[in-house]
């Protein structure tokens, strides 16, 4: 209990004193997570829309694959990306291993299936009669997609929230592909692991409070937006 309070005190202290390292780590965490979620959203929503609306052979199979992807253990994602980015691997010449880019790649790999699958489920639940009706009213394809998208916006936001939750909590893959390098790839989750192994539980706790605050603020903003739209 004492340790908890101490950690909270330390967190406030670290933020107020403008500890440069902490600010850097926090900003990098935000940059990496938000970039990963943005890319996952930009790819995942159109992909989910297509998967939810289109009818083509092998669709069920792709659905199953995406659903499995939702449960992809981050460590597995990390391992695969490591193998690809190794100097001896197929993408070795890019020298991306142990850079923030590698962490972003791993986080996209774990969040993209979540955004895609949840979006696709939302589109599948649209009443087919609605599609017929909109078409009958003479909407172009683009107009149709836009209307349908508005129809499922709540679910899409939920998909983004879920994807973000996965990404900001991610530690195993970030450790493996990022290497937890001070000033370069050290993010909040990996520094918590490191501080614990150093025996600095108070610092680890302080970082955990910062991480939770970040996650809370962003999730709250997204949820607020989602629920406000609903009450309108």
């Amino acid at each position: 209990m004492e340790l908890l309070l101490e950690g909270l005190k330390k967190a406030i202290e670290m933020i107020l004193s403008g500890n440069r390292e902490i600010i850097e780590i926090t900003l990098l965490t935000l940059r990496v997570s938000i970039t990963a979620v943005l890319i996952s959203t930009l790819i995942g929503i159109p992909a989910g829309m297509f998967l939810g609306l289109a009818r083509f052979p092998g669709r069920k199979f792709i659905h199953a694959v995406v659903n499995i992807g939702m449960g992809l253990p981050p460590v597995v994602a990390g391992l695969w990306i490591t193998l690809f980015l190794w100097r001896s691997g197929p993408l070795g010449d890019l020298a991306w291993l142990y850079t923030p880019t590698a962490i972003i790649m791993a986080q996209i790999l774990v969040s993209l299936p979540i955004v895609t699958a949840l979006t696709s489920t939302a589109f599948q639940q649209i009443n087919p009669k609605l599609i017929l009706q909109v078409k009958a009213l003479g909407a172009t394809k683009l107009q149709l997609y836009w209307i349908l998208m508005k129809e499922v916006k709540l679910a899409i936001l939920a998909a983004i929230i879920a994807g973000f939750g996965r990404v900001i909590a991610e530690v195993g893959a970030a450790m493996m592909v990022g290497g937890n390098i001070s000033g370069e790839t050290r993010i909040l989750t990996t520094s918590i692991v490191m501080e614990v192994s150093k025996g600095n539980f108070d610092v680890a706790l302080a970082l955990s409070f910062i991480l939770m605050t970040l996650a809370f603020i962003i999730t709250f903003t997204l949820t607020y937006l989602q629920q406000r739209k609903r009450s309108q």
Binding site: L27, L30, R31, I34, T35, L38, W86, R87, S88, G92, A95, L97, Y98, G179, N180, I181, S182, E184, M194, V196, S197, K198, G199, F201, T221, L225, R228, K229, Q232
Partner: protein, 288 residues
Amino acid sequence: MKLKKLLSILLVFLLALVTGCSDSSSDSTVKEPEKASKEKPTDLILATTTSTQDSGLLDVLIPEFEKNNNYNVKTIAVGTGQALEMGTRGEADVLLVHAPAAEEELVKSGDAINRQKVMYNDFIVVGPAEDPAEIKGLSVPEALAKITESKASFVSRGDDSGTHKKELELWKKSSLDPKSLGDAYIESGQGMGATLKIASEKKGYTLTDRATYLAQKKNMPDTEILVEGDESLLNIYHVMQVNDGKHEKVNADGAKAFVEFMIAGETKNIIKEFGMDEYGEALFFLFE
């Protein structure tokens, strides 16, 4: 109207975030040409053991190295087993590890060159203060025999690290089989810090390097040093270059500079003094 307001706020928020992101990336692109004029530092991947990072030694040494050499050191702190594996695959440029027998194999296979002795500290056997197996002050073989007899818990790293390799070597030298402990032999599969914590929670014995133990001591008031000072407990660190003749992508110049830095006189002074302020004793010693 409220919705519009909220949306615009959100839009601003998002834009700020996105520009914030691109800012930081454009920052680096702005900085890079600047650095390029002063020769952009090249990346140097150092694969090392967790003990050098967790003790804080590298936090002191790396900035010192980067100050005088135009390299950007990427420290990957993993177990010695993984660090050596990174060496054999050419995924690292320079290694700082502590498993002499395994290191020699790397030199023999031609994966590592220019292997230099850097420093040493010692392994110790720690355990609960009440010492159920009564091993305090014994020699290593006697202590391990007592632990096996009394079926006391022993926590092993079990992760192919330098410490784990040392532990297995000690069992073997004492002609004992740790598996005979059955469930009392716990393989944590984790770093030294976590393993010490498990040993302290389970009131078990464990082999650890002194540096990590001293760093963790504040979290484990009931754990004490029980066996120390035995010659077989020496923990020797070597630095070595990954052979660029065998692995073409290795940063050979940087690796060479790092090896030279590690055995330079000024560095030795830093290592010798390290830990005095915080623990009142040195954590690493030099060969003199």
